[in-house]
Symmetry: C2
Subunit: 275 residues, 2 copies
Amino acid sequence: METVSTNRSFGGTQGVYSHASSRTGTRMTFAVYLPDHDKGAKLPVLWYLSGLTCSHANVMEKGEYRELASKLGLVVIAPDTSPRGQDVPDDSAYDMGQGAGFYVDATQEPWSEHFRMRSYIEQELPTLIAEQFPVDMNRQGIFGHSMGGHGALTIALRNPERYRSVSAFAPIVAPSQCPWGKKALGRYLGEHKAAWRDYDACSLVEDGARFPEILVDQGAADDFLEEQLMPQLLVDACAKAEIPLTLNMREGYDHSYFFISTFMNDHLRWHADRL
Amino acid sequence: METVSTNRSFGGTQGVYSHASSRTGTRMTFAVYLPDHDKGAKLPVLWYLSGLTCSHANVMEKGEYRELASKLGLVVIAPDTSPRGQDVPDDSAYDMGQGAGFYVDATQEPWSEHFRMRSYIEQELPTLIAEQFPVDMNRQGIFGHSMGGHGALTIALRNPERYRSVSAFAPIVAPSQCPWGKKALGRYLGEHKAAWRDYDACSLVEDGARFPEILVDQGAADDFLEEQLMPQLLVDACAKAEIPLTLNMREGYDHSYFFISTFMNDHLRWHADRL
């Protein structure tokens, strides 16, 4: 692991690091905010997964999480959203390829060699974090935005024993049923739709996945609400499965970090209460 | 005035606007955060001037001011740092030309036609803001970062009747005595140094300018501290002039928005208490 940068912020250290990933076969960059802490302390970990077009930097610059994370003693980790590089397949569209990994392990050419973000986030990066930072991996929570909300929900639903808390801002709750998801899952996983169910929060719940409770904040003025995000599908799936879901519809708020930052502290408190 | 964008954030509206400036002879862009307020209310105004290479967007994205500005009912305005455009003179260096207006009215060719940021910030933009937003122009404060800290200090010292409060993050307190300032003032104003004194906070204080009190936060790990910023010069000038100056040296903090955002709320409260 190589340190790209560290900056003192809100009584802690905002770091950016990179490492050679065996899962993606590329160099991967991620951000870690580490609050000041007593020597020997092990802090709980909160994973933030970002949305389409984002890298580790978007939430680090615009997320406004450091003040409260410092007070609560939460380590906040922001991975990249895909492998990147000249030798990595890409697509000219913003919603496919680099910056759009969709937190899947791709099975289809040309994506399957590098686009292994599920394994990277679920396995490789946690191992590295546990080795390199003063963290208590028995206290992990996960959240994210849009495509990253999809990532957080699906990863938590597949690994309820590992994460104590999950939440999302404007998540893609049912990629199998929206244009972004159909395109990405179709190309990363192929058209055999049974393979998509592991990467669709609503399908996972229908298939028996459970989590103690879920928090979602959604802007009511989000341009992607009706066509791509469709939170009601998750409301319905959770109701049927008796999973307590809190969905806050936020009047006037859109899909941007102006929305996310506004409700960031609510989410940090949600996780801290459960970690 | 044209609305470029508005986003709901922290119970208010973060807007970006543009207008044809008669002072700079260019189209100028600026950001305004307007908290929700009662009908007919007139809110106090806080001007934030940015540093080298910045536009209106840097503090808007990374400054973390909206939560408390909303609670305090402060309108926060972030202008650009220079005129911009293909027909506007520029320099390949980051510290001269576009993005580096130094809040002066340039008198030297080729800068004097467009680089009139003093008039723009002191006269033209306040007139526009007063016309277009629900503001109380009898309650104005001003702050800024680095080159923008220089701007805030010099503008407040020249106009103590207009601004009730002034503060700065890592300001250039004596441009006449540092490389950034000598280069910019020399080229914008010419080598006759008497003309520089109006644009140097320490010189203004030496020449009799007064302000009730000044707040400065400065990172002790700021790479520009010794060569460019030299806050002790302002400490000395203010001591001689009996201007109360609070200088907080912040151990470990650098020149970035990771530093600024950490102490943003302290500065918002400083201004709100005086507005």
